[in-house]
């Protein structure tokens, strides 16, 4: 390998290492089993590497990475599961008789993540970018939607999440 190529590879791997938390959050969002998450993680890194040449540095590495990673996760094909194979899901508090308010932020987050799994791929992308703290304009840019459309979709997703959590028997305050 040439010295220049080696340097490019190392700088790419270092950039991915810095932002791997974002990638893993995307994998957790789009895949439920640990094995599937690892496969998707590998896939995202592969696509990032393939698309790396097209990164011109006009935007931040992380913004470009969000775009490629979400794109990959959304068009990623689920593996065909053999009959009888089960997906281990993240534990969350058991449902009570009545709607129970949750106080602990960790419990809230676990429940919230559980609820997100019931959203569509596009809805997951919207709420993910919102939770990552992106502005409406950034979200519109990454998703290829108009800012007004992003606002409408975000409100719809928030409402949907509220009702999913209520159906689980909880209420977040």
């Amino acid at each position: 390998m040439l010295e220049k190529d080696k340097h490019i590879t190392q700088s790419f791997l270092a950039s991915v290492e810095t932002h791997k938390g974002i990638l893993y959050k995307i994998c957790r969002l789009y895949q439920e089993g640990e094995e599937d998450r690892q496969d998707l993680f590998q896939e995202i890194v592969l696509q990032l590497w393939k698309a790396h040449e097209s990164f011109r540095g006009d935007s931040q590495f992380s913004s470009w990475m969000y775009r490629v990673a979400l794109n990959t996760a959304i068009v990623y094909l689920r593996k065909q599961r053999r009959y009888g194979q089960h997906v281990v899901q993240a534990p969350y508090p058991e449902r009570g008789e009545d709607v129970a308010p949750l106080q602990d932020s960790q419990e809230k987050l676990i429940l919230f993540q559980k609820a997100i799994h019931q959203l569509s791929k596009a809805e997951k992308a919207v709420i993910f970018l919102y939770m990552e703290g992106h502005s409406g304009k950034d979200m519109a840019d990454i998703l290829g939607l108009s800012p007004a459309n992003v606002r409408v979709r975000l409100n719809r997703v928030k409402d949907k999440l509220q009702s999913i959590i209520k159906n689980m028997g909880y209420e977040l305050r």
Partner: protein
């Protein structure tokens, strides 16, 4: 629900994922890249087919006008269609546009190119068959040689039988292509279309 509060918990949550792989796998579960890979494989096989045709032509040295015209048209049409497919291949898999636009554009162009591929197949199947029958048959069978050099104005039945063979080959080619597209492309197209419809809602 207070989403801002959740945002803080989300940001501060320690994420323990896998380490970044230094060696990447070569297989892919990405629908767009699987399609690109299929296109690449098919392009390679077609190139091999065209290359073999050229080799046979040079090896044989002499062939009927009909064989030459069929082979010439086969190369000309393949050149035109494969330039189109190549341009589509280059355009796909880009990340400089938004998610929705990227996937929608890919699906739109894929559908068009699948139609173009059908047209290509319909155009070149009879030409390829004629060229190969002329090249192989002309070398080994005097009957085929006579058949290709026959004066069709005095042998209309030969013309009719030749046309019947061409139509049969074309129908066979179209059916095979339909099956091929169903297994190699439709599954991914369906998956991508469902994503597009989610964004269109």
């Amino acid at each position: 629900m207070n989403f801002d509060e959740l945002k803080d918990a989300w940001a501060n949550e320690p994420v323990e994922g896998p380490s970044v792989p230094t060696k990447l796998k070569s297989t892919t579960g990405n629908a767009i890249y699987r399609l690109r890979k299929n296109m690449k494989t098919e392009f390679s096989w077609t190139l091999i087919g065209l290359g073999l045709t050229l080799i046979f032509m040079f090896r044989q040295g002499h062939f009927s006008n009909l064989t030459f015209c069929a082979a010439f048209m086969l190369f000309a049409q393949s050149g035109y269609f494969f330039t189109r497919f190549f341009l589509f291949y280059k355009r796909s898999g880009r990340y400089d546009i938004g998610l929705k636009k990227n996937i929608r554009q890919f699906v739109y162009e894929l559908e068009i190119n699948m139609e173009v591929y059908r047209t290509y197949s319909i155009c070149v199947t009879p030409l390829a068959c004629l060229a190969w029958i002329g090249l192989l048959g002309g070398e080994h069978s005097s009957y085929i040689r006579q058949y290709f050099n026959a004066d069709i104005s005095t042998n209309p039945e030969k013309l009719i039988s030749m046309l019947a063979v061409l139509v049969a080959l074309q129908v066979f080619g179209a059916v095979m292509l339909q099956l091929h597209q169903k297994t190699q492309y439709n599954r991914y197209l369906k998956e991508l279309k469902s994503v597009v419809s989610e964004f269109e809602d």
